[in-house]
């Protein structure tokens, strides 16, 4: 508990740095958002009025302080271009990315753990070599290419799943899963390859430990040895990486969003950049930063469950 509280406090300066950096970056974006709002024929007095209304001429420090204090109350402002509430926009889009990220990780871990464990158990043998070779092959294929291949085979040739689109969970879980399946599988492929190899490597070393040999000597089954004795201490790297990846999957899948027509956060943020929609950009980056930091916090805390020694020694 104390560890959790300490980590939570450490987030605050990190968040401040991230938000300040985002604010400063938007200042360096070329162009003026007012032209995107008013159009190229805007007259100087119109431009001046809109800049005043949007507070764009106020000094940077006061704008930053004002934004942070509003953000703490849940108000991330309105889009400079559409006028939509940024909070509402992010609330609408975040579930898309969250669902993709969580399902991708779940699928990846469900497949990678047994694959990695068995590869470690069969280290050097045919199964291990096959998995390793396949993993390297999969990692070499960029996700957008995997996406197009899966679409061509699963959607186009076999007509098993839709190739694009999105249905919110509220409109039917079955439909939602049908649409999310291909994007999730696309993203999970690389994660499966990486996780299985990582676990395989750590577990192969763990399986040489004396206590594991002792467990085998006591006649415990392979399954018990792998999943109960060896998996936990071999999982640190896997969990760390899964945590980092979860954050990346939440905000860094804009190409997958575009290929599959998903109304996600990545699209909103990348569209905000050329449009100079500062408020959406700042709100989106803040949200991703918070998500990232919280996930890493949970990863840190999870270590204490994996290894009680960490809990005792902090």
């Amino acid at each position: 508990m104390r560890l959790f509280g300490l980590r939570l406090l450490q987030l605050i300066p990190v968040l401040l740095i991230v938000t300040l950096a985002t604010f400063l970056l938007t200042e360096f974006l070329p162009g003026d958002p007012v032209y995107d709002i008013l159009g190229p024929e805007a007259r100087p007095e119109q431009i001046a009025l809109v800049r005043q209304q949007l507070d764009l001429d106020a000094p940077l420090p006061s704008r930053y302080v004002s934004w942070v204090s509003d953000a703490l109350q849940g108000d991330l402002g309105k889009s400079l271009i559409t006028g939509r509430s940024v909070s509402a926009t992010l609330r609408q889009r975040m579930p898309v990315n969250l669902e993709i990220a969580v399902l991708t990780q779940l699928l990846a871990l469900l497949v990678a753990i047994p694959l990695g464990a068995w590869s470690a158990y069969r280290a050097g043998r045919r199964f291990d070599r096959a998995v390793t070779t396949t993993s390297f092959g999969v990692v070499a294929v960029p996700p957008f290419l995997s996406a197009l291949i899966l679409v061509a085979i699963v959607a186009y040739k076999l007509r098993l799943l839709p190739n694009t689109g999105w249905t919110p969970i509220g409109q039917g879980l079955g439909e939602n899963l049908r649409y999310i399946a291909l994007p999730v599988v696309t993203l999970a492929l690389t994660e499966i390859a990486v996780y299985s190899q990582l676990l395989r490597s750590d577990m192969a070393a763990t399986l040489q430990e004396d206590y594991v040999l002792a467990a085998r000597a006591r006649g415990l089954s392979n399954r018990h040895v792998l999943m109960r004795e060896a998996l936990r201490p071999s999982s640190f790297s896997l969990i760390t990486l899964a945590g980092v990846n979860l954050g990346r999957l939440i905000g860094g899948t804009v190409i997958i969003e575009r290929i599959f027509g998903l109304p996600g956060l990545g699209t909103a943020i990348t569209q905000a950049i050329p449009a100079k929609d500062y408020t959406v950009l700042q709100g989106g980056v803040l949200l991703l930063a918070v998500a990232y930091l919280l996930i890493n916090l949970l990863v840190d805390v999870s270590y204490t469950f994996l290894d009680p020694r960490i809990k005792r020694h902090g």
Binding site: G31, P40, G83, T89, Q92, T164, G165, W166, I259, G261
Partner: protein, 537 residues
Amino acid sequence: MRLVAAMLALGLIAAACGDDGGGTGNATNTGGSSSGSAKSVTTTVVTDTPVKGGTVTIALFSEVKNLDPLKATGSGGSDGNRLFPIYGALVTYDPVKAVSSPLMAESFKATDAGFTKWTLKLKPNQKFSDGTAYDAAAIKANWERAAAADSPCACKSIAQAIASMTLPDPLTVDLTLKSGNATFDNLIARNALNYIASPKAITDKVDLVNKPVGAGPFRMDEWIPDGKMTLSRNPDWTASPGPYVDKLVYVIQSNEDQRVTGMTTGQFDGFYTATPSSVTTAQKDNKDATYASVAVNLGQTFVFNTTKAPFDDIRVRKAVIMAIPRDVLAKDILLNSIPADYFALKGSKDFSEASALPKYDAAGAQKLIDEYVKEKGPITFTMVVFQQTLDQARAKFIQTALDQLKGIKAELAVGASGDNIAKITSGKGDFQWTSWGFPTTDPNVGLYNATHSGQPGLNPSNYNNATVDKALEEARLLGDPTARAEKYKIVYEQLAKDLPFFPYTITTNGYVYKSNVKGGVVYEDGIPRVDLLWFKK
């Protein structure tokens, strides 16, 4: 190659294709002065009896920023496809016949020989989704809103061309224009003035950007930006026999191949495309699929600043055009688009062979450049380039093409849209070359704006030719489309002599529909008449 094409398609979609949406009229062949690679199918007037029911799902290539007509472009490649179902339209423009037809209007006619007085009569018993009457007062309120000094509407100059409006009865608007215009109804058809929002919603300051209140054939149920928009049939719509479908769903899919695949796999009933190769593929994979489209004149154009060296010299303009293989540009960079060989659209009333662009001739281009360099020295110019992937690909192609010549060098200046647009439309001539879109569904609108002198912001090349000005002004006062076309011929022929810009592709905007979807028709620059769509069982 297909994968490269897919990635290029991503870039294509990122490009401001919607900026150019200029096309008007009913479903027609994919035409153009050069043969395109798309198989074209004419969608004829429906002879079967439309059947009510069903949900039609159409894939679009990009999301729109807002649904307020005041802030929209009204373009078929952009927000026009949303404005029509929500707001309907006063009139629809047919570019083949070059006339507008009333839709929510009963009639819209000039009442004097000088075309300064117009009477707009509305059909009765139409109302907005908030219950307000769709009447003359609503038209006046919207048009005054568009004409206001602080209006952001791209239609402002057209709205401000109205000197006065009177309402002799609840369904009639009498307009007086500041100067005569024989095709003022076509002008209205082309832009946001065609789409009328509820005046009550305007007065109540309803957020029309996100919650539009219109009187169109459909009402918006849900909008997930970058996802989908779901609309239901408006039971109060009376302007046409439709809508026949119960629901209209627009889905956003920026990847061209995915749109084609989506129709083949049954996810979509239709999709938007301006790419001939997509039409070919879709029709190959979907038996009897139709393409409802319109060809857009001067859709993609390179613009020279004719008031700034080196492009103030016709020799340089001509040399550059001759040095660029535009068929290669159209085929390889622009995914099998149709290259333009003329200023006018072949097959249109205002076409003549004298509007031909110079043919590709690198040796001839070098001669002209050598002549210029002897007098004035080597040529270096800057091309203003937008950030969109496609625009950068185009610009690099130009640069490479010109590198084959001696004495001329192109530099690229990539900038943000807002800055570039301001630079180009400022009228101060702070650029030398750029790529631009000149939608000329009705020449009276697009061509006039782009080529008549004294129009900073609208005439980006700063072109100034008395013959052209005279022909355009005379065309505005001619009620007969054939007589107008003769005047536009003069304009196009003069453009072919002066080369202030050059169109390099014919753009076709349209929708491919599955064989069981009937009634596919587009108006203006490719806006689908979704009220006429129905499913044949």
